[in-house]
Symmetry: C2
Subunit: 515 residues, 2 copies
């Protein structure tokens, strides 16, 4: 009897050949360099930096747990009589100078490695949505572990989504320990791309680390090529530590798992209503987490994760698709690049509940400004709806096309004698009157241009004859097709069996292959 | 019997009061300053400029009509033995130094004036679509004069669309003379905002000028506050003049109508496949038109209208939603600002046939990059679909919301002691723990934020209970409502009667009021 895994792989290979015929293949655009958009004046950067340092040193952080107090006080902080932890300016300066830079977040497959050099841009999924828009019914329901696995393998197949950050909460898990280990497992089983996971409790980090070590082959192998990192909201605005998150961060550092020091603020609610103040406070809070990790281990890989989100002041709810949030976000990217720190932001968090025109323009504005500002890791850039409360699988497929054009818009315009093409212009002007038949046109047709996967460039007549469909309807079909066909086989059966022996894996093996 | 006009006005006033209650009113964002996005390196600007000058002087322009040859040759050009017109470097330099700058395109109502200073951004409609997506049937059909009038008054009511460029061809006109005068008339009758019109033949420009003079009250009044300008593709790539358009341009200059010197190129087809070459050629072609107008009259108001559009090389068709076109477009904006010339570009030309997610992200990417680069006049930024082949009325309403967030994303982030808000942060950290109740939060809620008109920020539950609609469906209803209610009354009955006596106006008076 033939091995079903091998059969599936053969199908995959054939399908890839078909899609190559359909559109030219372009090299991955992950790591394209941004920074051509600079929302802040250069003289504003040191001003905001100074304000952020003043906030940490003068106002300080509340609710620091013992582990933070112990380490930060020893390194140059002090606790005041109200219990606020103040960071000395010297400690801040030393940490900013000493924090590791230019490291990589790896994929299980090296082709997905992401080098976090200044202004190199990658876009991925993200979120912690409690709900999913059911692909069949089109109605929101609670998300499950299987949904998360499906999202991971969907992203695995989409070229312009460069990493998979856990996007949904698996609400069918019996407890948080099951949730944490199974979340990490289905993400790592669903994609070879770098995975951002999360831990609910510090006690669960060891499980996640052991899972990673087992997949890598050893602790050393994982440390050399870390293919999973942990999202962690160490600070909670305004200016408080979250005790459990501090313990989680400490465990991540201990186990050599790269750490995202994220601050999810809400302008006008948990941070000032003014953009500058909101940005300064978010910088300070994010730095607090970075400094804590650095004090624990100066070699710890920590990512500067500012999330200055907007509050719609009419309702008090978070709005993800606003212009104000987009420029605040891009401004924090500019400051992160000013610090030369590896960084991440949230963009793509539309307020629309489904992939419609609002979803398209809100995602595009926020992701474009973050990418053009040069964000290393744009999370929530694909798949999310409803101000991050919902995930839609077909949205990944649509957003993959959107991210293709946004990443392509980072391309440098080479200006030299060849590209200025004065000779070609002269020849065409004196000759046949168009450039279509020229050799360089045909050559560059494959290399220089991005073609949409589900986006529609047909004429009105062709489109009407084919049912006048909108892109969401086309993407739903394409999503079903991918989910039926794409079962990544990078975890061998033997490895998978051993993981299931060591860990309480809740996703049935039968869900991990085509039926 | 009450005057029906007055009744309609009363209704309008009441409706405005209602919508004020629904969302705070923010001041117009037209004229916000871009330029924070710079796709080209500063050293590339003189290189491209030099290449463009070399193209005009060494390669020259073909098919120059007599009027161009006469004037340009006298000013410093020469015709070669193949009949190509070469521009001397001195003439180019003199024109670039001498061309008028910093003028305004006015509205019939001064509140809609657009001051074209460097990097001041305005967004509007545009196009010459032969088809419209019928609001009732949802099927494309030939567009009519009534459609164009409806589009004009729709745009008149939408705050974030700053001018009305004729977007459809009225295909129910018996001849081009009727077409030209009626196009100008219904645009000017439909909106008080600045109108871009077009002429099919030079002989029709006099009609359009006389219509404008009649509405302004006199020729002098129009020259002082020109509320209509003419789109004109003086150059046709690669490097040819269009004879009729040259005559049209000359008439526009003669009658004091501001002129758009537009070049609509297609990368890889009518211009080089390389971005740099395509940009250089487009700059040269657009300058050729500018220089011709300047030679005719050094005081002529001419706008630098580069349109480096993309060819999908698989089909040879124009693609309006591409990244490559978006950065080429934004690059020409940067060069126009380097020249300090009043400028316009096309953005928002999605390839999608309807307002779906593709339409949203393609429009948003192209408009955002043009706006952030600092384009004075972004045409086609609202209402267009299908690579400019179709117009959809509901798309204006959706795009108005999109343009609101894009324009808001140009806002400068004020960084000063007040906005850094260190005292507020200190007070909140030591006090109530949130900023929601603070005076500055409430104050800025009205002034600092943009709220969507049809965009949906509700929760999933609220949205589902209200029918789970996408924004297109909501916008169709809103469009019907506006079209039923908004009949701008700025042309008095007496003036309108006199216009109808002088010109062959084909839109029945009965179409210009609520029924």
């Amino acid at each position: 009897m033939p091995d079903p895994g091998k059969r599936a792989k053969g199908r995959r290979r054939r399908r890839k050949a078909d899609s190559n015929q359909r559109r030219p293949v372009s090299p991955s655009m992950g790591g394209s360099v941004g920074g051509r958009y600079q929302p802040l004046n250069s003289e504003d950067l040191p001003r905001i930096d100074k304000a952020a340092r003043a906030i940490l040193s003068d106002v300080g952080m509340a609710e620091a747990p013992e582990i933070v107090i112990d380490h930060v006080a020893a390194a140059g902080g002090h606790l005041d009589e109200e219990g606020r932890l103040h960071f000395s300016l010297e400690l801040i300066e030393n940490a900013l100078n000493g924090l590791p830079r230019n490291f990589a977040l790896c994929g299980q497959n090296p082709k997905h490695d992401m080098q976090l050099d200044v202004a190199k841009v990658h876009a991925g999924s993200g979120g912690a949505a409690p709900l999913i828009l059911d692909l069949d019914s089109g109605v929101y329901r609670e998300s499950t572990l299987r949904d998360l696995y499906d999202a991971a393998r969907l992203v695995d197949s989409l070229d312009n989504i460069h990493f998979f950050s856990r996007s949904m909460v698996a609400r069918d898990m019996p407890d948080t320990r099951s949730l944490d280990i199974n979340t990490a497992y289905v993400c790592l089983a669903g994609t070879e791309k770098h995975v951002f996971a999360a831990a609910t409790k510090a006690a669960h980090v060891e499980d996640i680390a052991n899972l990673c070590y087992a997949i890598a082959g050893s602790r050393e192998a994982f440390l050399a090529r870390p293919f999973l990192s942990l999202n962690c909201n160490i600070s909670v605005p305004p200016l408080r530590f979250d005790a459990e998150s501090c313990e989680i961060a400490a465990k991540a550092v201990h186990y050599g798992i790269p750490l995202h020091s994220n601050t999810f603020g809400q302008m006008g609610a948990s941070s000032p209503v003014t953009l500058a103040g909101s940005i300064a406070q978010t910088i300070a809070e994010t730095l607090a987490g970075m400094i804590f990790a650095w004090v624990l281990d100066p070699a710890a890989k920590v990512i500067f994760g500012t999330r200055p989100m907007l509050t719609d002041l009419r309702t008090g709810a978070m709005s993800g698709g606003s212009a104000e949030g987009a420029i605040a976000t891009a401004s924090t990217v500019q400051i992160a690049n000013y610090y030369r720190l590896p960084n991440s932001v949230i963009a793509g968090a539309t307020d629309s509940k489904i992939a419609d025109a609002q979803s398209g323009y809100e995602k595009c504005l926020t992701v474009t400004l973050a990418a053009q500002a040069g964000s290393n890791l744009i999370t929530q850039a694909g798949g999310m709806q409803a101000s991050l409360m919902g995930c839609a699988l077909e949205s990944y497929v649509i957003d993959n096309d959107m991210l293709g054009v946004i990443m392509k818009s980072l391309a440098r315009i080479g200006v030299n004698d060849e590209t200025l093409a004065l000779q070609a212009i002269d020849e065409v002007a004196h000759g046949e009157g168009h450039f279509l038949g020229r050799a360089e046109t045909l050559e560059r047709m494959q290399s220089d241009f991005v073609y949409p996967e589900v986006g529609d460039r047909r004429t009105i007549d062709e489109w009407a004859a084919d049912g006048s469909r909108n892109i969401r309807s086309v993407a739903v079909d394409r999503t079903r097709q991918i989910l039926q066909q794409h079962y990544p086989g990078h975890l061998t059966e033997e490895l998978d069996r051993s993981l299931r022996e060591k860990f309480d894996i809740r996703l049935p093996q039968s869900d991990m292959q085509a039926n």
